[in-house]
């Protein structure tokens, strides 16, 4: 082992982090090289001196001073909790917006007539006379050039019809428990009818 290599290993040798082969090579080198041995003695003496420096004791009143100051300061905000709270208003606003949209959505399908309040849905007992607005591809009323009053009736929301004869219930009350939706109705499998709507 060359002198330069030996000196590279001084630190590892001091920390006892050399391999056995390195340690043996180093110690063999020291027996033959006075200069490296002398260098290592200075090196180790330096670190011994560092290690033997007297410990600086804390000031006797340090604890009291720290506590006195600590009483006057407030803790920094919890970073984890802070991050969690930031999205709450946004989520709440989004949820409210969705609720509002869902609530008013049925009224957007109604062509308001003068003197008619959109908030007062009218139940029509003859749904067969009216072609529903969202009946799909086929719109016979338009194809045959029906009158304006009849056309106006075609855009009345399907949700305004009285489907009480078609279905057994309008609203199915639900409860939320532990994040799972549970229906209070025993089953909806027995419901008969082509169409059902929920009216608010």
């Amino acid at each position: 082992m060359k002198c330069a290599q030996v000196r590279e290993l001084f630190g590892a040798y001091w920390d006892d982090e050399t391999t056995q082969a390195e340690r043996e090579a180093l110690e063999q080198h020291f027996t033959a090289c006075d200069e490296c041995r002398s260098e290592y003695e200075v090196f180790s003496r330096t670190l011994e001196l560092m290690g033997s420096l007297p410990r600086t004791e804390a000031a006797p009143d340090l604890v009291d001073r720290v506590l006195a100051r600590a009483r006057r300061v407030s803790p920094a905000p919890d970073r984890v909790a802070g991050k969690g709270l930031r999205w709450v208003p946004v989520t709440a606003a989004a949820a409210l917006a969705v609720l509002a949209l869902v609530s008013i959505a049925p009224w957007f399908n109604v062509t308001p007539r003068e003197g008619t309040r959109p908030a007062a849905p009218v139940a029509v007992h003859d749904p067969a006379a009216i072609t529903p607005e969202r009946s799909g591809v086929h719109e016979p009323a338009r194809e045959h050039g029906v009158g304006a009053s009849q056309l106006a009736r075609t855009v009345i929301s399907d949700s305004l019809f009285d489907h009480s004869e078609d279905v057994e219930f309008i609203l199915d009350p639900v409860t939320l428990k532990r994040g799972r939706v549970r229906s209070l109705a025993p089953s909806t499998m027995g419901v008969q009818g082509e169409r059902a709507s929920i009216t608010f």
């Binding site: 001084f10 630190g11 002398s38 003695e41 200075v42 090196f43 003496r45 330096t46 670190l47 001196l49 560092m50 290690g51 033997s52 420096l53 007297p54 410990r55 600086t56 004791e57 804390a58 000031a59 340090l62 604890v63 001073r65 720290v66 506590l67 100051r69 600590a70 300061v73 407030s74 803790p75 920094a76 905000p77 919890d78 970073r79």
Partner: protein, 187 residues
């Protein structure tokens, strides 16, 4: 530390009492300034108190504590450098010269208490002249006895960098101390 984070009243004073010595010694050796070490140690514990809820449970408290202490010590060194009020190399040479004269006194066969004190003072000053980034690693390793891995966490640098910094710091310190030891009669 978990009890401190939960605002248990008696936990924080206990924590300060337990770690005050290590923190004071660390900053004192890094800055070579006893007076400032007290103030800085106080600041370290205040930071611990203020940020107690950000302490990650399961991580080693002393590592977190030393990280705060090392950062504050670094800030202080930089502040002093900016103010050009830091310990100069000339001052170190003066101290070394004084120490060497006393240590070389042939009438003393053994190292007297005064000599030892002078030597320690000189070593303390020599440490303070090692550049900051090497000095912190050196003090954490050779005075506070931290493992290389823990120093890497405290200084937030890779383990290999820690080793190279400590090696360089030791070599620098050895060069500074060597003249003193030769006069002392050491090899």
């Amino acid at each position: 530390m978990g009890r401190v984070a939960e605002d248990e009243e008696r936990a924080f004073p206990e924590l300060v009492r337990r770690y005050q010595g290590r923190v004071t010694n660390l900053v004192s050796r890094v800055l070579n300034d006893r007076e400032c070490a007290d103030d800085l140690a106080q600041e370290v514990f205040i930071r611990v108190f203020v940020h107690r809820r950000n302490y990650r449970r399961g991580s080693k408290f002393s590592t977190w504590l030393f990280t705060i202490a090392a950062n504050l010590a670094k800030n202080e060194i930089r502040r002093r450098v900016r103010r050009r009020n830091w310990f100069s190399l000339d001052a170190l040479q003066e101290v070394l010269k004084d120490s060497a004269i006393q240590l070389a006194d042939p009438t003393e066969g053994r190292e007297s208490a005064m000599e030892r004190e002078q030597l320690q003072k000189a070593v303390g000053h020599a440490i303070a002249t090692v550049p900051e980034k090497y000095r912190l690693a050196l003090v954490l390793r050779d005075i506070e006895g931290l493992a290389y891995e823990e120093i890497a966490q405290v200084l937030n640098i890779p383990g290999g960098t820690v080793r190279s910094r400590i090696n360089r710091a030791r070599s620098m310190l050895k060069r500074k101390i060597q003249p003193l030891l030769k006069r002392e009669g050491q090899p």
